[in-house]
Symmetry: C2
Subunit: 346 residues, 2 copies
DNA sequence: TTGAAAGCGCTAACAA
DNA sequence: TTGTTAGCGCTTTCAA
């Protein structure tokens, strides 16, 4: 435990203490080549004696390396994506000290070809790219090309697992589906039988298909007294979802509703209009102003969320680590599946 | 959208572009006094034209301000505190770029007098202190003294609300208790009546008392068909908790168990030994290797967690913001109440 | 109100 | 293998 020093030791102090030059102290400290083992040891001893800790700002400035990253998001989508973009800018600010600069680009929503060509025409000065991917052959090829030319690539929120991307930053969607299934099964504890409706954006989207898979898995294995209905696809559109929900609510034995994607407003309207909001257990995804409100008034029973801030920061950190060769801490980069009920709303 | 520049603009470039000196550009940029409005505008225009963004590492180096923070934790406690300490060191590393150095000190577990005197004898060179507090008059007075002498103080995990601390970094404990209550009530859906046992470390601890309050609130308001039993205090000790659990399990109509504090191993042993692990709904706190294992084998049904990493980083960020006068983002600093089930384990 | 210039602590090119 | 030295981009005296 060091008590008040008037001034923190600098590398210059270490060099003097070890009887070597500043450059040698630097080489020894950073494990650069061309230092005798004995000298290395003398420097290490001086470091220990002085309790030296490097000044990272000075190192960053002297090294003067900059990293340009681009984040590619679907344009004109829901509040989740809007929030994600804000979080990306915040993450960029936070990593500015380490020389990171982030641009955000938009491509047409979930159009694989548009996304692929956006990737193909990406300016070459980017050191890294984070992509909300669609798992499609052309997208995969475009990612692989980027990787081949030396750009670091991570997928964000939605993965392209067969591409050469270095890392996927997002939740485990089958597990998210299982979590939804577990909540549904447990919240339905009182009921002895009934049908459960499922609405998705599109099963052609990997994440939606995976969530459905996980949901089904839990319900069929552990709550087989309920019948999970086939998925209705509403393209995340409130109006289509409202129609689907209305159709489902026409069944008197409907006990549960799982919306895999966005467009919760439509479902809410149908549910409230039916007068069965309190009885039907509804599990939804993504915490937003809307789902928060629905949780508060007991229309939605549980929300499964992925934290956009974590995702943005993690993507930026992983890209930076790949660029500098630093280690990645898998634990820190694992995106959590958050559960929100009325009582633990942030 | 700026395309590839060979080199990023520096403040020197801005100064040249605006036809002023470096010093004036700096003064204008940072809203320092002594610049004519017209000059200010010229600099602003140059900044916009060049797309200038300050290099925070250079600013940090030139300013050369350092901040020394101390974190005061209870000694020899559970895995949560051990993890918290590791996270504090990580947070210190991350903020090193901004000139932050963090020390960790330990005091005897939950002994208010020991904590108070540790605070009273704290070296004066600390710019900030984060304290796992106990709400006790002497502790409060010691915190107030620190604040009076100009040290920034935040409470961490456990609060002393009537003290002059600038900020509390931790979860909303009544809400955590309500969340436990909601999970208990919903998971008990099938049962029509029964008793629920509650074990705590000590109701003299604010956080435990608050969780109990929240738990009771939800159960009495929304699930009044169950009887919540009086709290049994086990001082977070596995052996004592085992005895308490055993006593509770002697009641044939025990349907639920809520452990407000630590010492889950003891309860697990009693529960497994009784053969009723699958039938009794058990809600516990803090995700650890132990509770993770218990979730996996369906002994624990739900775990309420506070993320030690967030808490450590938030405390460090808040202290730094208070020292530099920067703004605090309440949303980012709000510590979440995390819910873990078997299926969303990280 | 403005400008010139000396660092902050480290890295890296070059010299020895 | 080691040393010398010129910056990195900004802040901050001190002078004008």
């Amino acid at each position: 435990m060091h008590e008040a020093e008037p001034r923190r030791a600098t590398l210059e102090d270490v060099a003097r203490e070890a009887g070597v030059s500043l450059a040698t102290a630097d080489r020894a400290l950073n494990d650069r080549p061309g230092v005798r083992t004995a000298t290395r040891a003398r420097v290490a001893a001086a470091v220990a004696r002085l309790g030296y800790r490097a000044n990272p700002a000075a190192a960053q400035l002297a090294r003067n390396r900059r990293f340009r990253f681009v984040f590619i998001l679907p344009a004109n989508t829901n509040s989740f994506m809007a929030n994600l973009e804000a979080q990306i800018h915040d993450a960029g600010d936070a990593l500015g000290l380490q020389g990171v600069f982030i641009d955000v680009r938009h491509v047409d929503v979930f159009d694989p070809v548009a996304l692929a060509s956006a990737l193909e025409t990406l300016p070459t000065h980017y050191d890294g790219a984070a992509v909300v991917a669609v798992d499609h052959p052309r997208v995969r090829a475009a990612i692989d090309d980027l990787v081949a030319r030396g750009t670091q690539v991570v997928t964000l929120v939605s993965d392209a697992p067969t591409s050469q991307r270095a890392h996927y930053v997002g939740i485990d969607n089958p597990a998210a589906g299982r979590t939804a299934g577990a909540l549904m099964g447990r919240f339905l504890g009182g009921a002895t039988r009934g049908r459960i409706g499922v609405i998705a954006g599109s099963l052609a989207l990997r994440d939606h298909a995976e969530r459905y898979f996980g949901f089904n898995q839990v319900l069929s294995a552990e709550y087989s007294r309920f019948t999970v209905l086939p998925v209705l696809e509403g393209r995340d559109d409130p109006a289509r979802n409202a129609a689907h929900a209305q159709a489902l609510l026409a069944m008197p034995d409907l006990v549960g509703l799982y919306n895999i994607g966005a467009g919760n407003e439509g479902i809410a309207n149908a549910l409230v209009a039916s007068g069965r909001a309190r009885d039907v257990v509804w599990i939804a995804h993504e915490l937003s102003a809307e789902t928060r409100r629905l949780l508060c008034c007991d229309v939605v029973d549980g929300v499964i969320d992925q934290n956009a801030g974590h995702e943005a920061r993690s993507a930026a950190r992983v890209l930076l680590a790949r660029c500098t060769g630093a280690a990645i801490h898998p634990d820190q980069e694992r995106i959590r599946i958050d559960i929100f009920l009325r009582d633990n709303l942030p």
